[in-house]
């Protein structure tokens, strides 16, 4: 895997290169130190250290009162977070794979997302649900889905993704401090990606997109792992004289529509990339926002590059073929620009 990341930390700040999993670990550790109401619960978060090592060492440091290994009971994990949050805690509940959230959907969608509203604003639910998502790891159909659209569609939830160690740490810290319910998706294919992370403490506000590469010809709007594929496509196309801008939306809800529109206003072309099944995916919302609010800026239809309408298959060539890659993104960019250059 390419060990690359956009230079998204200020050049003057002291940084080190760390894995995304370490960045997430630091976010949890620092927020636990900052606020005694923060605790972590989930399957294998303690002794095992998390399926992707994000919580490794936290049990030893914080003890079993605040790093809570649960039985395999996703509904109870989702619901216990609700009960703990509404009574004053700030739980970080981990689902080992986002695919398992189906078992907890009632607790997330009917309880966590709606309690505050149903109770007329009289409750506050500072919950962060962490969940690894995405394909590319050969884990087949029940451990690879990208279900972010399910959650972005539910009023009462905020939905966050991250594409670099820097963003992962800053966004997770903000998510934990949020007084709302945040579903925080981590793409499992980039846990072991390294990138610069400041030595000093920082946070990144939710609801802000980030331009990962500036360009003048076409806007690629995407998030999570596909940011890297979009950057690779941009490098390829630079050799053809095409200048690609890559917008990482980071937070799906609330969505930073202004940054997307500003980019399209500059490039007049938009390609939306997402790994989930194309039909009804979150990229459809992005495309719709662009055409509703930026129609006059467009020189071509908004194109989408997205996953196939299938479960994620196991076999490597099939899995690769089922999700976007730099070549397909580059092809869509060329198609978008066809006739207007």
């Amino acid at each position: 895997m390419a060990v690359t990341s956009a230079p998204d930390a200020p050049a003057q700040a002291a940084t080190r290169q760390i894995f995304m999993s370490q960045a997430l670990h630091e976010a949890l550790d620092e927020e636990m130190a900052r606020d005694p109401n923060v605790f972590v619960m989930g399957e294998e978060v303690g002794i095992w250290g998390g399926a992707y090592n994000v919580t490794a060492g936290l049990l030893e440091k914080w003890g079993e009162a605040r790093i809570i290994d649960t039985p395999i009971s996703e509904a109870a994990i989702g619901g216990a977070a609700v009960g703990a949050a509404v009574t004053g805690c700030r739980p970080v509940a981990e689902f080992m794979y986002s695919d398992f959230m189906g078992i907890a959907m009632d607790q997330i969608v009917n309880q966590a997302a709606k309690n505050r509203y149903m109770f007329g604003g009289a409750a506050k639910l500072p919950i962060t649900y962490r969940a690894p998502f995405g394909a590319g790891t050969g884990n087949a159909a029940q451990h690879t889905q990208s279900l972010e659209a399910w959650f972005a569609h539910v009023p009462g939830l905020k939905v966050v993704t991250c594409s670099s160690p820097h963003d992962a740490k800053g966004l997770l810290k903000s998510s934990i401090r949020e007084d709302n319910v945040v579903v925080f998706f981590e793409h499992k294919a980039i846990y072991s990606m390294r990138g610069p992370v400041p030595e000093d403490e920082y946070t990144i506000p939710l609801g802000l997109a980030d331009v990962k590469r500036e360009g003048s010809d076409v806007s690629v709007v995407t998030y999570a792992r596909q940011v890297h594929y979009a950057l690779e496509a941009a490098e390829q196309l630079a050799g053809e004289g095409i200048d690609v801008e890559v917008v990482d939306v980071r937070t799906l809800y609330p969505l930073d529509v202004d940054t997307i529109l500003a980019s399209v206003n500059k490039t007049n072309h938009a390609v939306v990339v997402y790994e989930a099944a194309r039909f009804g995916g979150f990229g459809a919302e992005i495309a719709s926002q662009i055409q509703e609010h930026g129609f006059d800026d467009l020189d071509a239809p908004v194109l989408r590059v997205a996953g196939s309408h299938s479960p994620i298959p196991f076999s490597e060539p099939l899995e690769k073929g089922a999700i976007p890659d730099p070549e397909r993104i580059a092809a869509a960019i060329r198609e978008s620009l066809q006739g207007s250059r």
Partner: protein, 308 residues
């Protein structure tokens, strides 16, 4: 405890009349006949302890100390209701007083109660959470996951299954392969089945379980055996119960039983009871007047309070 049971009974009877006069809409699930369960359990709680409730939640709410006027206003859909009119009968909550909410999803309160109790354990605040749920939650996954996790994490929670015999028209013995109150050993906790229409027994058994939880000795599962005298909702006219069965249970009505016992023991006089009835009646009238006089919410409220 008589006052509380009477408040529940009269609140619901009054709501039914208002509903049939088209003053309110949506769902109303009556707790009439089950008042001893919420009343006995909540009497054994301390102020500040937590409860989770169900779609049949008026009784839990009142027994936990909710204001009748704010409850009635919520049923009327007015701004002065507990939820500003956004929740209605199935979602009344008073988080500040420890009532973590009624719940429209059967069984869903079980994991939430475990989480509240987990928070108490973390904070070491000495509070206990009582999780009320119906016998029809016995077959749900949330029940199993929640009760098991509560035991595994050894949190201060008491699970109170109110067996009112029916989940809509489905009899509890059809839906549950074994009674909920017999399942304690499966989850490593004591459990018992008790007379849910005897408020004294409910109080006594709940007290033991609540003290046990507060002392860090873990959860208990109690099944209060009772009966839903009314239909599933206000619109239930299905003939799945025979008159004989209903009559048998009305003869065991918890409020009438309380009166008989209290009068026989000369703990209370007819005059005492009448004085309480009068006081409750006045509160009910005030609640209804308050609700009727309260303003409707305006449309700007629709997207308010979705987020902090």
């Amino acid at each position: 405890m008589y006052r509380t049971m009477r408040r529940i009974r009269r609140f619901e009877e009054t709501a039914e009349v208002a509903y049939r006069a088209a003053k309110m809409r949506g769902a109303l699930h009556f707790y009439i006949g089950e008042e001893a369960s919420a009343t006995g359990v909540c009497a054994a709680l301390n102020e500040g302890d937590f409860i989770t409730s169900t779609h049949r939640g008026h009784g839990h709410c009142i027994a936990k100390g909710a204001r009748l006027d704010k409850m009635m206003a919520e049923l009327y859909g007015r701004t002065t209701g507990y939820c500003g009119g956004k929740g209605g009968s199935m979602h009344i909550a008073d988080v500040a007083s420890g009532n973590l909410g009624a719940n429209g999803i059967v069984g869903a309160g079980v994991p939430i109660a475990v989480g509240a109790a987990l928070g108490s354990k973390l904070r070491n605040d000495g509070k206990v959470t009582v999780c009320f749920f119906g016998d029809a939650a016995g077959p749900t996954g949330a029940f199993h996951e929640g009760v098991n996790m509560g035991s595994v994490l050894n949190v201060p929670v008491v699970f109170v299954c109110e067996n009112n015999q029916y989940g809509m028209a489905t009899h509890t013995e059809y839906a549950n392969a074994a009674p909920v109150g017999d399942r304690g050993p499966a989850y490593g906790m004591p459990s018992e089945r008790i007379d849910g229409n005897d408020v004294f027994e409910v109080y006594a058994r709940a007290k033991v379980a609540i003290d046990r939880a507060r002392n860090g000795e873990g959860p208990t599962l109690i099944e209060t055996i009772t009966y839903r005298q009314k239909g599933h909702t206000i619109h239930d006219s299905k003939g799945y119960r025979d008159e004989e069965e209903i009559a048998k249970w009305i003869a065991r009505d918890p409020i009438e039983r309380f009166k008989r016992v209290a009068l026989e023991a000369k703990a209370l006089t007819d005059e005492d009871l009448q004085a309480i009835d009068d006081e409750v009646e006045e509160a009910i009238t005030q609640a209804e007047e308050f609700a009727e006089a309260s303003p409707w919410p305006t449309l700007d409220a629709i997207e308010q309070d979705v987020y902090v």
